[in-house]
């Protein structure tokens, strides 16, 4: 750690810089990829390949009137969007982007991630509640129940990985995958984690809290300007977070052939999953809220328990 301590602040700054830019860049990536899959052009006017749309969007968001509805609960209304960005950014502190590139090398890293991502639900609930708008309230209610339920399976699915690696430390989990990525032994766990991750980030097909055709914009219906921008960035950060967690836990993190540095491998793998998130948005309809809950509790929950039991049993047998 002494070696890392030298440039510790560089890592913090670097991670923050890359993340925020990635989140902003995803605006462009998502729109271009969606456009590609939907037979249209997408943003292609500002700058090369329309890249400057990111800049234009950011400027627009910053200069929009920052309006707080008179009927809203002001303090909570302002606080809510900050929660989502803060909690997701906090989660990133434990993710090892490379062998030595990690902000905080906690030995309870995985638990920290779960704790932080659970906090995210507050922003939806508080935002929806403080807006004092019926659509927002409905969205918040849906969001709260969805995220709390899916948290359960997410945690359970991860326990398989913990059992196999014998650690909550994400760096050690990655190192434990040197021989074999966990995607192979933990395929079921991966599937459950991925689905729960999509629900956690409330992206299509699980974008039920903001279901555009029903609830207009759901929990953030009343938000505008940079407060809305925070939800927006929070969503993209969430996608990035879940993608990097998938990579860390199941796809060997920074591990990869030596011709590229670990960080690059990590980024490449992460972007593959980000693209999958976007592809899902382009292709799937949205289930109904009660169907989503039923699916979670009746299918995913037993499956994740089963996964845990079988993993534990096999490990025990191998140890004998």
């Amino acid at each position: 750690m002494q070696q890392a301590a030298v440039n510790y602040w560089w890592i913090v700054g670097g991670v923050l810089f890359v993340l925020l830019n990635t989140a902003a860049g995803l605006i462009w990536l998502e729109r271009r990829l969606l456009a590609l899959w939907q037979d249209r052009y997408g943003p292609n006017r500002a700058g090369p390949f329309g890249l400057l749309i990111v800049l234009a969007d950011t400027i627009k968001l910053f200069f929009k009137e920052d309006w707080i509805p008179p009927f809203a609960d002001k303090a909570v209304f302002v606080f809510a969007p900050a929660v989502v960005v803060a909690s997701v950014l906090m989660s990133f502190t434990v993710i090892p982007f490379g062998p030595n590139v990690v902000v905080a090398d906690f030995n309870i890293g995985l638990l920290f991630f779960l704790a932080m991502s659970s906090l995210g639900v507050y922003s939806i609930v508080l935002g929806g509640w403080a807006s004092n708008n019926k659509y927002a309230l409905l969205g918040a209610m849906r969001g709260a129940s969805q995220m709390i339920s899916y948290e359960v399976f997410m945690g359970l699915a991860l326990m398989g990985v913990v059992l196999m690696s014998g650690s909550f430390n994400l760096r050690e989990i990655v190192e434990a995958q040197k021989g074999l990525w966990y995607i192979v032994p933990q395929l079921l766990g991966f599937v459950i984690f991925f689905i729960a991750g999509v629900a956690e980030t409330h992206r299509l097909p699980f974008d039920i809290p903001e279901a555009e055709s029903e609830l207009v914009a759901g929990f953030h219906a009343e938000y505008s300007g940079m407060k809305f921008g925070m939800f927006f960035i929070g969503e993209y950060l969430g996608i990035t977070l879940i993608s990097s967690m998938i990579v860390t836990l199941y796809f060997g993190g920074w591990l990869g052939p030596a011709f590229l540095p670990g960080v690059i491998w990590f980024i490449l793998k992460t972007f593959v999953f980000i693209a999958i998130f976007i592809l899902m948005r382009a292709s799937m309809p949205r289930p109904r809220y009660d169907q989503l809950m039923e699916y979670g509790w009746k299918v995913l929950f037993p499956l994740s328990l089963l996964n845990l039991l079988v993993t534990a049993a096999i490990i025990l047998i191998l140890k004998e």
Partner: protein
Amino acid sequence: MPPSIFQTLCSRFGENIFHEQLTRDETPTVWTPQGKLVAVLEYLRSEAEQPYRMLYDLTAIDERALKSQYNGTGDFTLVYHLFSFERNAFIRIKTALRGEYPTAPSITDLWPSANWYEREVYDMFGIRFEGHPLLKRILMPVTWEGYPLRKEHPARATEMGPFRLFDEKEDREQQALQFKPEEWGLQRHSDDADFMFLNIGPQHPGTHGVLRIILQLDGEDIVDAVPDIGFHHRGAEKMGERQSWHTYIPYTDRIDYLGGVNNNLAYLLAVEKLAGIGVPERAEVIRVMLCELFRIASHLVWYGTFAQDVGQLSPVFYMFTDRERVFEIIEAVCGGRMHPNWFRIGGVAQDLPNGWDKLVRDFLNYFPKKLKEYDKMVMRNGLFKARTVGIGVFTQEEAIDWGVTGPGLRACGMEWDMRKKRPYSGYQHFEFDIPVAQNGDCYDRAAVRVNEMWQSLRIIEQCLNNMPAGSYKSDHPLATPPLKQFTMQDIETLIHHFLNVSWGPVIPGGEAMSCIEATKGWNGYYLTSDGNTSPYRVRVRTPSFAHMQMVPYISRGYTVADLLSILGAMDYVLADIDR
């Protein structure tokens, strides 16, 4: 020969009570005294052999300005159109009302669908219905003064004085828009719950236009719904009374604005019946081909937006792209796209352009494989099924009670397509099937429409292969405008051309009704002529109006998300509801 319905009625209720009127469309028309009206309708609906189970339309005519030779015996006339599936026949029951603001008995106990129709008559004519559960304005704002379809109500802005919006008036209008559940007979609380009232629309991505639905919610479950329509009302019926028979055609385009020429056809079939114009074969086939192209275009919009309503983002882009392909053909033929304004009294505006066959054939080759792809993408998608199967179910009986027509009716097992059962415009010469489904839920309604696109392709192919030669417009003197090539030869045509284009054709007096299988259901025009250059009364019967009325009935007990599926599967267009 079985006795005519008039004779049956006479033998049931006694001679000399009824009086039969001859009309141009040969629909049996029976004048009934007001006192016997409900009894007669009840008899026709439930007791008569081969009953008239569907209330197809209910409207009124202000007869105070009608020349006596066409007149009934009153100031206002209520007109009931019933349809019998067993007989495959319409009947028109008329009753004369006297007085400035007459009253009539309500028939909402007989047909639930009469509710909105009676409200519309009240809204437009000021005729009150006794026993109606909630008689209030439906299309016009509640603050409106006067009853638009009465003859004394002005139709032109110049007759109405300048429009001003004072602050007090603005406040008054805004207050009138506030939703007070009590006015609609809704409870704010039940024994164990406080209800939430959620206002959906008029600006909402899920309503497909300016429609407002107010939901009474218990959690996310719909306890009741109140559709508030009329935001798209443009007075199409009133405008008919001031346009010439010819210049009204573009207005029909804008009724069901996705159906394009189907509207033209519904209107012109009625006009041609009035005038006794036969349409040449080539014109008929051209009309059929265009109608089917528009059916595909309309169904594509529905298909894409329906998928989007349940959260699927991409299909709508593919389907609009394909719709563009249909529009390429339509554009080449008509010059217009959504509002083609292309059919004319006695035919169509122009002959088909050179090379039309290649465009159509390319489309016929291209489209089937896309339809198959969409089937895989949407109809066979598990999540899509989860959102639509078993949602918004209604039975055949309910459908008929509520006046549901078109794909909605066929989705509950009723094999009834006006193109087959009462062929018009030469549909009897075409080979195609009537797609049906059995469950009457959102998914089945979707499946019927998808199959209809396949059938439309078959019809278009037959049009392409068998396009008859000949004239694209009738040489009847009332065909408007007359064929240009003759105007240079003989003075008769030249004069007709001049008069029909400047004043408009004079259509002989009488009344006629049409009913076509439009993209969304039965669409019909009921025209009354007093032998003038413009109609005396234009009644537009649209399918969406009846369908929208059914929304509260079929959405109770489902959730907000299901409401979107129900609305999406219904395939309505706001202009088609409000006219």
